[in-house]
Symmetry: C2
């Protein structure tokens, strides 16, 4: 049961990052994005992956590994679009 809740939670928090990513890629505008937020979040979700591995909880591992990917992409976009001004 907790796995179902965990997977649902993981899918939702993962999906929630996609509109932001799509918006940034589409508009090539990172004005209102905070790079600090992305950097700290990247460190945080990486630690959640470690935590998930320690507890052997797959919902935690998978959703946070996905977050690492999204945030790394977002940070790359920030650097790229920021420089293009």
């Amino acid at each position: 049961m907790e796995t179902i809740i965990g997977v649902a939670a993981g899918i939702l928090t993962s999906i929630s990052m996609l509109p932001q990513l799509i918006k940034v890629i589409k508009e090539k505008d990172v004005e209102n994005l905070s790079p600090y937020m992305i950097a700290i979040l990247l460190t945080g979700v990486s630690l959640w992956v470690v935590y998930g591995v320690m507890l052997l909880e797959w919902p935690i591992i998978l959703s946070n590994a996905f977050s690492v990917l999204v945030n790394a992409t977002l940070l790359t976009c920030y650097v790229l679009f920021r420089e293009s001004r």
Copy 2:
């Protein structure tokens, strides 16, 4: 040990939301924010709280409860600043 990692991860992912919130409150500009992201994230972190309660893992419960608060505030800001145009 996993509690330490979990708490560190929780603090980082919680802190990461604050610059975004401060930025939005300071600039009163929600242009680049995605309201869908905030709404889905709010549902997601609420489910993470339920998941944390089921596993009785305090790092999960506390950090996600904090995220619920931040995202609820962010959504309120979105509605307020959006309407003020």
